[in-house]
Symmetry: D2
Subunit: 140 residues, 4 copies
């Protein structure tokens, strides 16, 4: 499926529609197979004890998959998260960005499904995985 954006164009568009996450996430790469996004880990994403918080991990997965869907559907698209399954498997490193590797499993007329593996940068084993379903409302 042709991509509706390049990395710079999709980044601009995400900043336009979600200005509040501009400093949290960056798109590293994308192609026909998937999208890589990074959490720019900062103090506000941490839990006491020095680990990345669950809500920050959820937000990264959600944002990576949302961007992946937009990369296919383009500017006019809407997509609403309807379901999420998350496994937290290892403690993310407090001092490292978290890298999300998202892949699209289905892009249907009304539902899209994708999954994502998340890694603390520089570590081989994933810290978490997520799968999410998005409802795609009909265009106005």
């Amino acid at each position: 499926m042709a991509l509706a954006f390049d990395v710079a164009g999709l980044t601009d568009y995400l900043h336009e529609i979600f200005p509040q996450v501009k400093d949290d996430f960056a798109i590293d790469a994308m192609d026909e197979h998937g999208l890589r996004m990074r959490l720019l880990t900062a103090e506000r994403h941490l839990r006491p004890g020095g680990t990345v918080s669950g809500p920050s991990m959820f937000a990264l997965a959600d944002c990576a998959i949302y961007a992946l869907i937009l990369s296919r559907l383009g500017r006019e698209a809407l997509a609403v998260t309807t379901n999420c399954a998350l496994d937290f498997m290892r403690k993310p490193a407090a001092g490292a960005d978290v890298i999300a590797e998202a892949r699209l499993l289905k892009l249907g007329r009304v539902l899209a499904v994708a999954d994502v593996l998340m890694y603390s940068e520089g570590m081989a084993e994933p810290v978490a995985r997520a799968s999410m379903t998005y409802s795609i409302p009909p265009k106005r």
Copy 2:
């Protein structure tokens, strides 16, 4: 099972161990069946278009269930979220607190399972549901 805290005591303890969520959540009630927690919805929890963000909903569910487990296990307990399944069913109202009704389904030696229904205050239908598993590490 006897409760290890009353509402005031558990609130104090959560503020002590999670000072960063002190202004986000409040425990409304708890008893042997479950715990009710409220998201004190503020601008920082909202998405453009006027709805409560997914990460805020995740954080509410996680915090409510964590508090519920602590209410049984007491002060020395550790509990780590290992799995979460979330369904977003309706758009939460931007101008209302979100109320989470959590109930404990299992409190085992190594795993605890609970689920939660979340409501925009004043509305009859739930906006989201979540189920979560926590790993309970052995006491040192």
Copy 3:
């Protein structure tokens, strides 16, 4: 919401469309809040060691929720399982029916969400829980 069937009518309809599960499941009760279905536990549902198999538990949850949706939508309705989250919490008793208590959380235009608690008959603690999403295709 008005019910499209009574217990006998819904039982007949399920037997008509799913003749292969006729001897596996029975509807105990239903009302505006939910539906109770029983797995008529038999040798073919067991695993070695004497417990009810995971696929049998999945089938019970799926069938209970499907019946619950049909009870609202009536005869012409289609509903396709799109997502399932299951927690297995305790070992079901081999010699007891499994009782599923299903409740409908959302019945939208395109998606329905329900959850279910499952009990070995005569035991107070649930053996498993499930939540499921169904896609409701437009009527022909």
Copy 4:
């Protein structure tokens, strides 16, 4: 991690401990990255309308991941499914085997996590995905 079995040895062991699924599943391949198992689709796995049933898909995912864990832990191991998240994305073909590609994401001291993509043989797009958690009881 070294494999505790080869394909023939693991197949024999599964037949020994789960004789009732002997005619349902076959291990196609396994290596350090994962395991491929096939559902030998037969009449008893189908739903009216000509598709593979949900419980059969669940059983395939569960059996593939269980075999994958055993391939690492060996003969004495126990592993109990505690959580499952499943997405049904496309209708499986009635006349084709279903191929499950399972990969291990975590093999911890008390919990193992794996996910699986399922394909109707000969089709490029996955029909379903699943992620599962297993509890690993301490050895006696």
